[in-house]
Subunit: 229 residues, 2 copies
Amino acid sequence: MTEIARETPTAMSTDAATEPPITARRAQTRERLMAAARTVFADRGVEGASVEEICEAAGFSRGAFYSNFGDRSELVLAMIQQSSLMQLAAAQSAVATMMAAGHKDADELVSIALYALEGLGVTRSADETIGDRELMLHAARHPELHQTYLGFVDTCLAQVESLIIDGLRHAGLELTIGVRDAVALLAGTHQHLQTMAMFDSRRSDPSLLGTLLGTITRPHAGSRPYGVG
Amino acid sequence: MTEIARETPTAMSTDAATEPPITARRAQTRERLMAAARTVFADRGVEGASVEEICEAAGFSRGAFYSNFGDRSELVLAMIQQSSLMQLAAAQSAVATMMAAGHKDADELVSIALYALEGLGVTRSADETIGDRELMLHAARHPELHQTYLGFVDTCLAQVESLIIDGLRHAGLELTIGVRDAVALLAGTHQHLQTMAMFDSRRSDPSLLGTLLGTITRPHAGSRPYGVG
DNA sequence: TGTATCGGATACAGATCTGTATCCAATACT
DNA sequence: AGTATTGGATACAGATCTGTATCCGATACA
């Protein structure tokens, strides 16, 4: 009796579901679910958030969720991959803007660094920072996600690196340490600032990035430093 | 029928349970439960770990758990408070050892910094780091824990600060930036190194701390630097 | 305009999980 | 030795949560 109904609807989609045809509407639903998940994860933690909560926040039913993602871990994976693309795009547009404007002084350098660092799992508001870190920690707990997450990190670090190089040249400065080390120090410093900000925004002073940049740079020999060249 | 049994056992303990008398045995049980929780949290996340799992890992039943903690959040609170004490003790003993041995060169400085930084939610193995960060993030998600966690952080930062001050004097060096900034940079750098280590230990090079120290210190004017004074 | 397909909603079964209410054994006190 | 008390184990009821199987409305194609 029940077998009669099992004719085509799911059977067909199962055939195609190996590589689901993501139409525009489907993509939009996925988008909304992922956006809602970020919020809910920040509130409840990745493992503490129920699929129900995520769907409710997105204005969908669980049916919609399971029609778009196999399970929670598939959602998380998609979110990490999405992060990589999003942050990359954000960083690139930020650079483009700053480069085009031809900023050159130290304060702008800090801004550049800040923009560049946005991608490193540490972003704007405290809630977003928490959400990002939930994702990071979830990835850390699951070895199968290590490579994917490192790919994301590398994307961001490379972005920071090229930003620093270009930014310093524009500012007429050069590094006194290796660029890789510089990137790591900037990333760590930003991470620490964001950590503090999660608990008390007043305890996070971005000028620390300026202090750091001051200690690891010097006027570029022969180029056009502030008033020397 | 069932009411007959409800005579005294819990009734008495309820009276006293307002301020439970923590005997030695009780303390040991709490200890084991907290230790087990650290492991389980690292695996499953604070919200993802069931009380059952924690108890099983500790070799107890859920009855033992609820006899010692009101609920999961009470356990987490106790763990954070415990962290503060543990890390403080660890750092102090580390300092005592190093100071007593009279270490003075740059490499030892790095070691000092490392020891001092152990407390900042970023510790030895990758699993412990993950567990510590789970705790941190849980605290970040719960405003009622913010002050408690900041107390822990301040304890650690103050510890690092005095270690740095003493360590540098012993090494005949002085800071080129404020000590608070120096502490923040060291903390952030360590945090970044531990982040990398969570995903791939080969990508975490502690010598970065030495590089950082090198850029923010110089031989102490007039004191006894390496070969100058 | 009619039909096929797709996207999301609903219903349901099984599996956990939490917190409480009892219960029993070992320790401590006398 | 005998009793009081404490610490931990067991049993249970209610509440979720997950994943699947089915169903329905809307869009697209003809």
